[in-house]
């Protein structure tokens, strides 16, 4: 079967079985290895991508379900070269350590920023609750998302 989807704004045609995992399509068929596999059963969130704006675990989404959809991966962030606001905030606060959960965290963080919700600590914790991190204790990831949200809103930064 041939499936058509938009990946990071670029049209893609994929010749593959409909039940092939979106994760494998991205990583192997399209060479976008930024999206990671941590468990293969939707528990860790390392493979989080945006499908039509919603955060999904790419290991649980069959290709046929993404047909005609728009997929955004970590490679699509800051496509103008350099880092976008959220990526820069992660770098500044120390939100990325080993980096393996980072692409998924960024995707969850982008969805939170796009929601326009007030960046309270509780709201940010809930927004990344589906993404496991074993390095940071989440503290600096939360700092990064709050910082990016404050900058987006043009508010003074709470963090010195």
């Amino acid at each position: 079967m041939t499936y058509r989807l938009t990946v990071n704004g670029v049209a893609a045609e994929v010749e593959a079985p409909g039940m092939r995992r979106l994760l494998d399509v991205l990583r192997e068929d399209l060479g976008l290895t930024g999206t990671k596999e941590g468990c293969g059963e939707g528990e860790c969130g390392a493979c989080s991508v945006l499908l039509d704006g919603a955060v999904v675990d790419a290991c649980l989404v069959p290709l046929c379900q993404a047909d005609g959809g728009a997929v955004e991966t970590v490679e699509g962030l800051g496509m103008g070269g350099g880092l976008n606001a959220l990526q820069a905030a992660f770098l500044e606060t120390g939100g990325a350590q080993c980096g393996i959960c980072t692409p998924g965290m960024l995707i969850a963080g982008e969805a939170f920023l796009a929601s326009g919700a007030a960046p309270t600590e509780a709201a940010v914790r809930e927004a990344i609750a589906g993404n496991l991190c074993r390095c940071t204790g989440y503290t600096k990831i939360i700092d990064a998302i709050v910082l990016a949200a404050e900058r987006q809103a043009g508010q003074p930064e709470s963090r010195a």
């Binding site: 990583r27 060479g31 976008l32 290895t33 930024g34 999206t35 990671k36 596999e37 941590g38 468990c39 293969g40 059963e41 528990e43 860790c44 390392a46 991966t73 970590v74 490679e75 962030l77 800051g78 880092l83 990526q87 992660f90 770098l91 500044e92 606060t93 120390g94 990325a96 350590q97 080993c98 980096g99 393996i100 959960c101 980072t102 692409p103 960024l106 600590e121 940010v124 914790r125 809930e126 990344i128 609750a129 589906g130 993404n131 496991l132 991190c133 074993r134 390095c135 940071t136 204790g137 989440y138 503290t139 600096k140 990831i141 939360i142 963090r159 010195a160």
Partner: protein
């Protein structure tokens, strides 16, 4: 000699503040951060090797058995599948580490020692065929009796006995002797990137390994031994590594050997990428332990005797167990001065997957017991746990159970005061005590606060660093570029950021002028494993010395500053490489035979205060706040060091409350991420990290290491907080809702953690 440690008061860095009077240059950003943030960083499974095959391990499904045969189903087409068994191993059939007891693959007629033991290997050009082939292999075995309880095992891997003073006289002199028994279970490292190795055959008959690892030279040594390779034929290259925590210290050698054996037979690259299920089922865990304390005190609260017994469960093979036991034993009495101490530690074999390195390396187990014991003694003496620790904690000049005199950088009291102050420990404790006393029968929740203190020896134990004889190098290339050459790996903790920082500072150049060579054994020297919180202190120290020598040599030749003249020096003289090899820290001596002396050049110190809220209907424990004060010598990079404390604290919260592996017939039952739970952002407490500095004079920069300290201290603080909330001591970790509820209701608690039941119910 006057050191900064002696002349300056310690520096307390609160999060986001700048210390007065101590201007520091702006912190460099994580060196490899941009690649990680854009998805460009290449982890093992991201690497593409055209034509690569896929490899898989056929494992035992019994805990103890004799291998009689490996049957390949004759009805299956094996022509496109490669099979490797023990008979195909060209060199010694051992995973080279401390002892030669663990085979790469169980040989025919040999003994299977645990449920996940590798027996044979398959490779195929595609994963579908490989999955199919796997189903057509059957093992013929003869079941043997299995041992699951280390207390019942008759096979000892290692033992240590430490003695200070006279334990019998000490116990006799005590007014009160308080006994306690503690039990801790397995813990999975749960790096988010699973174990992964790719082996590529080399034209010279050797093997090149690309993979996720902490210790390239461990794998290098293992390859040479089992595949009969020369130094040059075995090449090990670290891919970006998605977390290790000790889990990628020794285990990667096995996977690399398997991939290499297959690649040699196939003649093409072979990928062995574990999925989460295989990773949890087969790889090493934190050692379960049983710990018994007898603590002698006088009525007025003097500590006069500590008699401690530690039994660790090594699993089926020795791996690193003697070293884990050694560290656990040395730390088992906690950071307290006591005239009469006896600590007896032994590690036993069981028919469960081997246990191995995990952040803290034996100390989190024994320090959980030690701290909970101290808290129970405080309760018995009607003293505040803070006041008791103020009296007992080591001061400068204190003498440890190995006879080590703590000469400098002794900060137990300071971290204690810092954590107690920042958390308002005494005020909150007064409040929670009152709330507990007034609590009615209809209360649904209870809050509590708890305190613990810990120490952690910096670097390898005893003469470990002398035996390692690590080398770190700096190269000035003929183009005038500065390059760091070490085998120290980056796995998130910040090696690639702090090394350029230290070298740039020593050379007087900009940090961006300092490059790091890839962690490739054909390029970098053996600077030892990236473990034991030793990278910043030991390897960082070697780099500073190398940089100082390079700077002196260049400046002597050019007469100008290194920064201004190194390029012209390189132009005129060609490349310059300075190798710096480890030499013992001044005055540090350890006797391996008697196990006495300076077990570590110095110690790091940590105090933690945890606050919990407990659901009295379900026994569920929410850890709401953790304040951790850590004294780590020089804080090289505040953000990265805080990151270590925050991450380590959360790992310890998981250890304390939810992370438990249940075993039946020697097999982990909850061997998936859906069933082995780690804390999410919703479960994680607010973590406040306070960093204190007491420079260690033996290291040129005064750093002591930070990675493991937080893992030692938070679990006993959480258990103390549970006691504060409920009045019950939980002596078995983790303090799951089942155990807490059993304590609250007086019902039968779940069986002790870490011990397999014989057969499925």
């Amino acid at each position: 000699m006057t050191t900064r440690a002696q002349t300056e008061s310690p520096l307390l860095l609160a999060p986001g503040t700048i210390a007065p009077g101590r201007a520091r240059p702006a912190l460099p950003l994580r060196r490899e951060g941009p690649e990680k943030l854009t998805g460009l960083a290449k982890y093992a499974d991201d690497l593409v090797f055209p034509g690569a095959w896929y490899g898989v391990t056929i494992r035992s499904t019994e805990p103890h058995a004799r291998l009689r045969g490996i049957d390949l189903d004759p009805s299956f087409d094996w022509s496109k599948v490669v099979v490797v068994t023990a008979e195909d191993i060209p060199g010694d059939n051992v995973v080279s580490l401390i002892q030669d007891d663990q085979p790469v693959l169980v040989p025919l007629g040999g003994e299977i020692q645990h449920q996940a033991e590798p027996v044979c290997l398959l490779a195929a050009p595609d994963r579908g065929l490989l999955r199919l082939a796997k189903r057509h292999v059957a093992l013929r075995t003869e079941r043997l009796p299995a041992t699951f309880d280390p207390l019942l095992s008759d096979h000892e891997f290692a033992h240590f006995e430490l003695a200070k003073g006279d334990i019998e006289a000490g116990l006799a002199a005590a007014d009160i002797v308080i006994e306690g028994e503690y039990r801790v279970g397995h813990q999975e490292q749960l790096y988010i990137e699973n174990q992964a190795m790719i082996a590529v055959p080399r034209p010279d008959g050797g093997i090149e390994i690309h993979g996720s690892m902490q210790c390239p030279y461990y794998i290098h040594g293992a390859l040479k031994r089992a595949l009969n390779l020369t130094d040059a034929q075995a090449v090990v290259i670290q891919a970006e590594t998605g977390g290790g925590f000790g889990g990628k210290e020794e285990y990667p050698s096995i996977i690399a050997l398997h991939a290499a054996l297959l690649a040699q037979r196939v003649g093409k690259p072979v990928r062995m990428i574990y999925d989460r299920h295989e990773d949890i089922s087969a790889t090493t865990k934190r050692h379960p332990a049983w710990i018994r304390h007898r603590t002698g005190v006088t009525r007025d609260g003097q500590l006069v005797a500590q008699d401690i017994e530690v039994v660790m469960d090594g699993g089926a093979y020795v791996t690193l167990t003697p070293v884990v036991l050694s560290r656990g034993t040395i730390h088992a009495a906690g950071p307290y001065e006591c005239p009469n101490v006896r600590i007896r530690g032994r590690a036993m074999r069981t028919n469960t997957p081997p246990n191995g390195a995990f952040r803290g390396f034996g100390a989190p187990q024994t320090e959980f017991a030690a701290e909970t014991q101290v808290n129970r003694v405080a309760e018995r003496l009607h003293l505040s746990p803070l006041a008791l620790r103020r009296r007992w904690v080591y001061r400068e000049g204190g003498v440890t159970p190995t006879g080590q005199v703590l000469r400098e950088s002794v900060a137990g009291l300071e971290v204690l005061e810092a954590a107690a102050q920042a958390s308002e420990y005494e005020g909150v404790a007064a409040h929670t005590r009152k709330a507990r006393e007034q609590r009615g029968a209809d209360a649904r929740t209870a809050r509590g606060i708890g305190l613990a203190l810990a120490w952690h020896g910096a670097g390898f134990t005893g003469s470990g660093e002398v035996h390692l004889a690590s080398i770190a190098s700096i190269e000035l290339t003929s183009d005038g570029e500065i390059r760091i050459l070490t085998a120290s790996t980056e796995m998130g903790q910040g090696t690639k950021t702090i090394f350029p920082q230290l070298v740039a500072e020593a050379l007087g150049v900009d940090i961006d002028a300092v490059e790091i060579a890839p962690q490739d054994t054909s390029i970098v020297p053996d600077s030892g494993p990236t473990v034991a919180s030793r990278t910043a202190m030991v390897v960082g120290g070697l780099l500073i010395k190398a940089a100082q020598r390079m700077k002196a040599q260049v400046e002597e030749a050019t007469g100008g500053s290194f920064a201004g003249t190194h390029r012209s020096y390189a132009m005129a003289h060609g490349s310059l490489r300075v190798d710096e090899q480890f030499t013992p820290y001044p005055g540090v001596q350890f006797d391996d035979a008697t196990y006495t002396g300076d077990a570590y050049p110095c110690f790091g110190w940590a105090a933690a205060v945890a606050e919990v809220e407990i659901d009295l209907d379900t026994g569920e424990v929410s850890v709401t706040d953790v304040v951790s004060a850590d004294e780590i010598g020089r804080v090289i990079h505040q953000v990265l060091a805080e990151g270590q404390v925050e991450g380590g604290s959360l790992q310890a919260v998981g250890y304390a409350t939810i992370e438990e592996l249940k075993l039946v017939d020697g097999r982990y039952q909850n061997d998936r991420l859906a069933t082995y739970l780690i804390p999410t952002a919703m479960d994680a407490p607010r973590i406040t990290s306070l960093l204190l500095e007491h420079l260690y004079s033996g290291a040129p920069h005064g750093a002591k290491g930070v990675g493991e300290l937080p893992m030692d201290v938070v679990a006993p603080a959480v258990v103390a907080a549970i006691h504060d909330a409920t009045g019950h001591w939980i002596a078995d970790l983790p303090a799951t809702s089942e155990r807490v509820l059993a304590a609250l209701t007086g019902s039968t608690p779940p069986p002790p953690p870490g011990i397999s039941s014989e057969r499925p119910a």
